[in-house]
């Protein structure tokens, strides 16, 4: 009599270490994984379909709900795509503020990642430290945007408003303090023998394999390939800032951890430069009156401005026919928007290139042949957000 010696177990969808509603079907030979199959879609809200029934400014609010740990980055990617379609120029002040906010958001997303990833692997202490700094960032961003998680602050044509006077001093205080905090995190983990044993040579991906699977972001860079959209196709004045792209060698969980920690330091440098060099000027495009709504004061004074405001809010605007692809380096990888316009005020098709979705597709490759306890380390190291995967 031959009996199957493999055991199938179900991990998730309700499992604390799957970071959302991810379900994994694992086939085990003892403790070794022989087959893994991710099941996704539990959080599917049809964002791509919904956007086709909304005007361009309205569809912006949907992008907040993609990767909810870095909503401002999603706003930025969407706005860049629409602005490319419209072919409008954004003032320098708005570009610098966009960079500043996107980088703060990256630090905050990486902090959330390092906190939960360490918690998954049993190092609970870091959670409290990382969440303290993340809370500071959330408060700083709330000060400017008025929201903690879904700001919709970066608008087509610029920003929703200028920053308050108290914003920059708080950013500067954070930036000066933050490198010391990262040092603190490193004393907890980087040379920690337990941490190293749980992460080195786990879920390794070679550079060729990463390219084959279309992986981008810190996971790709941990394998030694220096592809970062901020350097490869600079957007929003990233070419004005001095920063490096941290690279790993082995492409394992430990290298991904190191890459993300170094990225936080680099992001901190960018925030510092953006805050120091922040030029004066308008916070939204002035030469695009059909895209950027007029200010509150002029709406109160001028009937034409009132009508224009109403038209933009009610009807939106009509970009020329055509298709564009614009992408940014979000905290997870390359986040791209492929927009097709048919000349009406609604996107004909909005395709989102979600970095987490494509990175997650490589998870079976990472964990087959590894121990079942390493699955948690592998999932954590990809840094997935299910809101973005399921859309």
């Amino acid at each position: 009599m031959t009996e199957s010696r493999y055991m199938t177990i179900n991990m998730g969808p309700q499992h604390p270490a799957t970071h959302g509603v991810l379900r994994l079907l694992l086939e085990l030979d003892g403790e070794i994984i022989v087959k893994a199959e991710p099941h996704i879609g539990y959080l599917h809200r049809g964002i791509e379909k919904l956007s086709e029934s909304m005007t361009y400014p309205q569809a912006l609010t949907l992008t907040d709900r993609l990767d909810y740990t870095s909503a401002l980055s999603n706003n930025l990617a969407y706005c860049l795509a629409v602005e490319k379609l419209l072919d409008i120029k954004i003032p320098k002040r708005a570009q610098y503020l966009r960079v500043l906010m996107a980088e703060l958001q990256r630090i905050s997303a990486h902090l959330l990642w390092v906190a939960t990833h360490a918690l998954d692997l049993g190092a609970m202490t870091l959670l409290f430290y990382a969440f303290r700094e993340r809370e500071t960032i959330t408060e700083i961003l709330e000060l400017a945007t008025g929201a903690r998680l879904t700001p919709s602050f970066i608008r087509i044509g610029g920003l929703a408003s200028d920053i308050p006077d108290t914003f920059l001093p708080r950013v500067k205080a954070f930036v000066d303090d933050f490198p010391k905090r990262v040092d603190d995190y490193e004393t907890l983990l980087t040379e920690n023998i337990i941490w190293k044993k749980r992460t080195t040579n786990i879920a390794s991906m070679s550079a060729e394999e990463c390219i084959q699977y279309g992986i981008t972001g810190p996971v790709l860079r941990a394998s030694g390939i220096s592809y970062d959209v901020r350097k490869a196709y600079p957007y929003s004045s990233y070419e004005d800032f001095d920063f490096e792209i941290p690279l790993g060698i082995h492409g394992d969980v430990y290298d991904r951890y190191l890459v993300r920690l170094k990225e936080m330091r680099q992001s901190n440098r960018i925030v510092q430069q953006a805050a120091e060099k922040l030029p004066n000027g308008p916070f939204a495009a002035v030469d695009a009156p059909l895209v950027v709504p007029p200010s509150k004061e002029s709406v109160g004074r001028d009937i034409a401005a009132l009508i224009r405001h109403f038209k933009i809010m009610e009807e939106g605007f009509r970009p020329p026919c055509g298709e564009v692809y614009a992408s940014i380096e979000s905290s997870k990888g390359e986040l791209g928007f492929y927009l097709i316009s048919d000349g009406t005020n609604k996107p004909f098709r909005m395709r989102i290139r979600p970095p987490s979705f494509i990175n997650l597709a490589a998870l079976p490759k990472m964990i087959v042949g590894q121990m079942v306890a390493d699955v948690v380390a592998a999932i954590g190291s990809i840094d997935i957000v299910l809101g973005e995967i399921d859309r």
């Binding site: 996704i40 879609g41 599917h44 049809g46 791509e48 379909k49 919904l50 086709e52 029934s53 490319k84 379609l85 072919d87 390219i211 084959q212 699977y213 279309g214 992986i215 981008t216 390939i225 592809y227 490869a232 196709y233 055509g322 298709e323 564009v324 692809y325 992408s327 390359e334 791209g336 492929y338 097709i340 004909f348 098709r349 395709r351 290139r353 979705f357 494509i358 597709a361 490589a362 490759k365 399921d390 859309r391």
Partner: protein, 161 residues
């Protein structure tokens, strides 16, 4: 440059080369898609080794009805190229998931959302929606609110049965 090289290599298959906002899109014949993709990936002059995205679009009243766009990036030369091809309703397209493993899930999503069949795909099943879902939501004739939105929901309590 990539467009011209493609035109030279596949004179019959390249239908159109467009430039819009600094992006190049090349429309090619669906029948030759595998050869063209393999060429773009392997060619030393182009080396488009990273498949960034694969998007399906439904042009409801056009023939052929569907369009598939492949977003390619070359890590060696640092540039992007978009390859487009058209698929008629009921027709199918060859998979590129053996050329790029990344295409596996992307093609599954296009199948799920638009109902386009990819020949020889290793595992062409729905990915985001449930297996018993009827219809393909990103088709233009699929209502935004869902098919049965205006019909009353029938609730049948266990005691009433």
């Amino acid at each position: 440059m990539a467009g011209n090289l493609l035109k030279e290599t596949f004179p019959d298959a390249v239908q159109k080369i467009e430039d819009f906002r600094g992006e190049t899109s090349v429309t090619v014949d669906a029948g030759k898609i595998r050869e063209i993709m393999a060429f773009l990936k392997e060619s030393e002059k182009l080396c488009y080794d990273l498949l960034l995205d694969l998007a399906g679009v439904d042009f409801n009243d056009c023939t052929p009805r569907f369009m598939i766009a492949y977003m390619l990036h070359s890590t060696k030369f640092n540039n992007k190229l978009r390859i487009k091809t058209t698929v008629a309703e009921g027709a199918s397209l060859d998979t590129v998931s053996d050329i790029w493993l990344a295409a596996n899930w992307m093609e599954r999503e296009v199948f799920d959302m638009l109902g386009i069949i990819f020949n020889k795909h290793p595992n062409l099943i729905r990915i985001l929606l449930t297996d018993d879902f009827v219809g393909h939501p990103l088709r233009k004739d699929f209502p935004v609110k869902g098919r049965d939105f205006d019909k009353p929901v029938q609730v049948c309590l266990e005691e009433e049965q």
